[in-house]
């Protein structure tokens, strides 16, 4: 198989509040022989909030990020569900609206860039499932996670809306029965647990504006995983991770029940199965202690 190579859009959290996500992404990519060219010029995607304030500015900045991936001639790979949504949505809007694309390109021309629409955008989860292949991952597992019941938590922006999924991925998820994370857990030798909240919202994007709503959603998600006898949760989204890992006190108060589970990034789970060390994967950076390794 030809070596896989992507333009890595890290997003902001991997540089700040989830350093372990960056560490584990690089560790897993190395194990799998995937080359990642970091887009160091990339800006924040706006995380679905800049869009509320200034939609056009958000489009221009996201188009600029994609333009840099295009300069490398590579598919852009994201490691955050919200970065994935905002970037893929920008691409969708520009590719389907010539007038808007021209307006955005007029701005990009001021800094010598052009958005052409030639680079695809995918999340690292789908890159390793669709492009690398679950069967190959299965073959590479040296430490199967067979002792663990693992609760997948998909995160909204990787599975909805289907319109973008259908455009972006070889095997689009059905948002009501997503399978990618479950399949990945099984490929890593773990036991995937099913629970109602696995495809629900964690509340991250309303945490400051609507703290009670956000806390109830977080609490419900962790409680659902606990009730399904999960040993830990796994998510491809660093924003879901932050909410589920760091906000359990507020969540417990909101739903009137103590909830807490270790929450691993998808890359950390794969890394453990591939034999990376806990230090390489940054497991010491979690607020809810990861005490099983």
């Amino acid at each position: 198989m030809e070596k896989l190579k992507y333009a890595l859009f890290t997003g902001c959290t991997a540089k700040e509040s989830t350093p372990e996500q960056m560490m584990s992404t690089l560790a897993v990519a190395e194990k799998l022989g995937i080359e990642l060219v970091e887009l160091t010029e990339a800006s924040c995607c706006g995380a679905s909030h800049l869009q509320d304030y200034d939609d056009f500015l958000s489009l221009v900045l996201n188009a600029r990020n994609i333009a840099y991936a295009e300069k490398h001639g590579l598919t852009m790979v994201t490691i955050c569900n919200t970065c994935q949504l905002n970037t893929a949505m920008t691409k969708h809007r520009l590719d389907h609206n010539a007038e808007l694309k021209a307006k955005v390109n007029a701005k990009l021309a001021e800094v010598g860039l052009e958005y052409k629409g030639t680079s695809q955008i995918t999340h690292f989860l789908y890159a390793i499932i669709d492009d690398f292949g679950l069967d190959k991952i299965k073959e590479m597992v040296v430490k199967p996670l067979s002792q663990f019941n693992i609760a997948p938590f998909y995160g909204c922006h990787n599975i909805r809306p289907s319109e973008l999924q259908n455009e972006t991925h070889k095997s689009p998820e059905n948002p009501y029965r997503p399978t990618s994370l479950d399949d990945l857990i099984i490929a890593c030798g773990g036991l995937n647990v099913d629970y109602e909240e696995k495809n629900k919202c964690c509340g991250f994007h309303a945490e400051l504006q609507a703290p009670r709503t956000a806390a109830v959603l977080t609490g419900n998600a962790v409680a659902g995983a606990m009730d399904a006898n999960a040993d830990w949760m796994v998510t491809p989204c660093p924003l879901c991770h932050l909410k589920l890992d760091t906000q359990t006190h507020h969540a417990s108060v909101a739903i009137g029940r103590d909830v807490s589970l270790p929450v691993l990034h998808m890359q950390q789970m794969v890394g453990l199965a591939l034999g990376c060390t806990p230090a390489e994967l940054g497991l010491n950076h979690h607020v809810t202690k990861v005490d099983f390794v």
Binding site: E16, L50, Y53, L85, A206, A214
Partner: protein
Amino acid sequence: MDTLKTQQVTFKVFRFNEETDYLPYYNTYTLDVTHEEVVLDILNRIKWEHDGSLSYRRSCRHGICGVCAIKVSGKAVLACKTRLFDMIDVFGNELVIEPLSTKRAFKDLVVDKKDFWDKHAQIKPYLEAPIDEHPVTENLVSPHDAEKLLEADYCIQCGACHYSCPSVEINELYIGPAAFAAAYRFAADVRDDASVERLHIVNEEAQGVWDCVKCMECAQVCPKEVNPIEKITKLHNMVFEANIAKNNVATRHAVGFAHSIEKHGLLDEGELVRYSEGNIGVLKHVPVALKMFAKGKIVLPWNMPKADKLDEIKKLVKSSSTVKF
């Protein structure tokens, strides 16, 4: 000629009669269904052939009145336009049939939509304009202006998005995606004179657009592809454009991204929380911040990373910004 394909399906149907039951229960029916049948056909067959007491709403049978909206295995659908075989493809051969909201059901699949209609009324879902009682011409809207509605007028008020919205479920004040789509529909109408008044309603904390959790479920579930979250985003934009955005945690949270990107290229997460909450409000986040700091999850201001080619980003922020706060 098409061969009739058949599958055996078990339906677990929500039952509750508020006049006689304390708690809901589920009845199970196993039926052979054909590839031509929609969910409503099955409800009819259960009622007509198995249990005449089953209650549900149905009317137009063509996906335009919206009254037959129910949930199938958690997904809100119009019973009259949803093919059973499509549901079986997703959920398998055991399907759970429930009302849009189990807590608002008063007879089986029939829900009390009072909250939905009250919230709909709250946003003034009608055109407000001076009426000439003796017009000499029609009040025409150009195709260009009609496009601005973004098909928000396609909403049939079935309630699928409303009763799938997590914020509606948790926060009883939250107006909800269907009513917001209607608010946009009239706010974007060039003939309407009440746009700003309507924007003030959706701009209120707790009830307004700022409490949207951005889960995209309303867009996913809408049977008419109205895409309510697109309209919610438009309402956010219109609040800023109309210069009526209040200086509060919600608006500062959105505006803070622009400041941060201009300064660093990236989002300064810690500063965003301080900027959004204010110097006093931010104190409530200190306990979590300390735990994160202990785990190396807080970047101190002097270590804040910056994007390469920051000058380029600054230039674009300056030249591409379309609103001020």
